[in-house]
Symmetry: C2
Subunit: 276 residues, 2 copies
Amino acid sequence: MRTAAARDVTAAVRARADIRAGRHTGPTSGLAPGFAQANLVVLPEAYALDFLRFCVRNPGPCPLLDVSGTGNPCPETLAAAADLRSDVPRYRVFADGRCIDEPTDVHRYWRADLVAFLLGCSFTFEWALAAAGVPLAHQRQHTNVPMYVTDRPCVPAGPFHGAMVVSMRPMPPADLARAARVTARFPAMHGAPVHAGDPAALGIADLASPDFGDPVSIADGEIPVFWACGVTPQMAVQRARPPVAIVHAPGHMFITDLPHEHYDTAAPAPRPPGGS
Amino acid sequence: MRTAAARDVTAAVRARADIRAGRHTGPTSGLAPGFAQANLVVLPEAYALDFLRFCVRNPGPCPLLDVSGTGNPCPETLAAAADLRSDVPRYRVFADGRCIDEPTDVHRYWRADLVAFLLGCSFTFEWALAAAGVPLAHQRQHTNVPMYVTDRPCVPAGPFHGAMVVSMRPMPPADLARAARVTARFPAMHGAPVHAGDPAALGIADLASPDFGDPVSIADGEIPVFWACGVTPQMAVQRARPPVAIVHAPGHMFITDLPHEHYDTAAPAPRPPGGS
């Protein structure tokens, strides 16, 4: 159910205030527990329609949560009091596809023609996996999740194109069905795995050499399980080479006012009247 | 899982060929069984970005399945050989928010600046409800599902705004949890119910007088169950009064090449290697 209920958003508001004031400039993992975090992509309006097409055509890696009004730095349905120019701990600013800055505030790059896109982030499904008792190797090993560029092309849209990027979490085969069932409940957070087992089936040559993040050790008897990853749209944006693009720095996400459960398609349904 | 498998799409292709040739001009209920059908909205590109914002901000009533390239009448990810100017049995054409024609082909209204949006349709979740043994009153009574304008405002975007429209299916309270669980698996087809029980909670005064469709009789002991409805975006489009808009006529949907299961978030997940 996506209906909104009155809810205490103090923890999310406080975390964003700390970030805005420069008191927190690191990764957001563990900040404001219970609240969904989101990937940020900011583009000139001239690119917005094609980027939206790219996201709609590739919903696994690019699940859309909100799109701001042109020039409006507030993602109103995710956090009505937020300012996307200051409320992400660290940004990456691109000019013509080249990273030119990694600031903690992007007021000076903001333009009246910019549109902000918020996309689902795997932190939400990792929370659900942990809640379901599926252990996560990269958390146990205190590293970033490993990510790989696959040989599966995304459906292109205008200047946006490229391969799907996946994240990988190893687990015993006995955990796979449960992990798939749990993450499938969160289609707005990348949903169920796209593949389990042989990495060559995705064109991945060497699990020990991820394209992003850190390698994790895979225990005897474990298999690698792959999910569509939010780095996919960032790579497509770099390839499109817009005059300006702003994204969050890896791991430095936008914290929303919405709890993880908001995106759980299996969350409690309406109850019959009469309390029966 | 949204991965595509090789699949026999003959029935969908044949149904669209019949429609294109004018051999079928009626509603599409029951045509090409097993294939997902979609709502159609066509707008000038100048309205496309705001309409996409409206859909992203209101995913319950407005689940996006695909967006065509500007001027391109093909929804490539849903049916690569289709032509949206001819492959819907009947259209409604609006000028400045007023219906000016209900043709079976819209070649003469097509313009190079038009963008087509395909949105999820409840036919898919009705198929899933039937498969799960939840009987549907309007099918038993051979009428259209009743639809009501609620007092719940959608999140606006540019000129697009208005209340959420819901469809209603009565059932015994004992069926509610199952119906909610089954439809929740299809977030791209409106997902779980938004409400069950007292219609006044949605601002609906009289179930016997639906705003669209036909009334259904509600048996003793049954309760009304309400789902977000694809008429919502059509009403928002009429209110926005674009110079031209083309939508499908009620019940006359676009038939895709994708099976209902494609949109089932609980569809079978990857299996562990080795066939275990």
